[in-house]
Symmetry: C2
Subunit: 132 residues, 2 copies
């Protein structure tokens, strides 16, 4: 099924929400969570991670919150996904070495080919294309 996690889903919802606001206007995790019925704490973690990755900016204290920081045009979906979820690929034999297979595996190369195609595809799409 090739699915991404909720984290990405919440991140996209939040970004899309922020884009509807006036530039530099802050919005809080609570606000977004209530608006879309998301679990606030989990959403908050996602927002915190995006802040660490400089996709958004966090402002602490009361009347603090988050706002978009980067130019979303300049962030590829590949980078976005990988920042939130780690390396992109249909199977992990590409990066993790402790595969069950010792040397018997016969699909490593073809899998890598698929993975490269996927990465290329998501490299060509910008985050803005998705959030706008």
């Amino acid at each position: 099924m090739l699915k991404l996690t909720r984290k990405v889903e919440y991140a996209l919802i939040a970004l899309r929400h922020m884009q509807t606001l006036k530039p530099r206007k802050l919005t809080s995790a609570k606000e977004i969570a209530e608006a879309y019925g998301l679990p606030q704490q989990l959403l908050a973690k996602t927002l915190q991670q995006m802040a660490r990755d400089s996709i958004i900016e966090a402002v602490q204290g009361p009347s603090g919150g988050y706002r978009i920081m980067s130019d979303l045009d300049k962030i590829s979906l590949k980078d976005f996904f990988e920042k939130l979820e780690g390396p992109l690929g249909i199977m992990d034999c590409y990066f993790d070495s402790d595969c069950i297979q010792l040397g018997a595996c016969n699909i490593r190369t073809p899998i890598q080919r698929i993975n490269e195609n996927m990465r290329e595809m998501f490299s060509k799409m910008s985050l803005r294309e998705v959030t706008q």
Copy 2:
């Protein structure tokens, strides 16, 4: 991470193995499981499913087994993945209707755009490209 399940992994290993054999030669779940250190019963289920989908052919009885049936050039990766795992997409909001979101969701359309791109990409790759 966008990962596929073991089912697909085992299916690919099995197909690739069959391709190394003489055409029409049968191989059993046991044989493949032992050769690659896979759980035999689970592999068998995957083979059975591929047989139901007419990708391979099953022959019962002792000295029975499986062999490739379809022209793998004619099966797209999209069809292959969807046969084994159901609809292809990075999130299921496309097909499943019981989403948490009532009408508040703001990312359905962009998600569908990504999903379409993915399906298109996998439509263009044949199963043979991967197993050969």
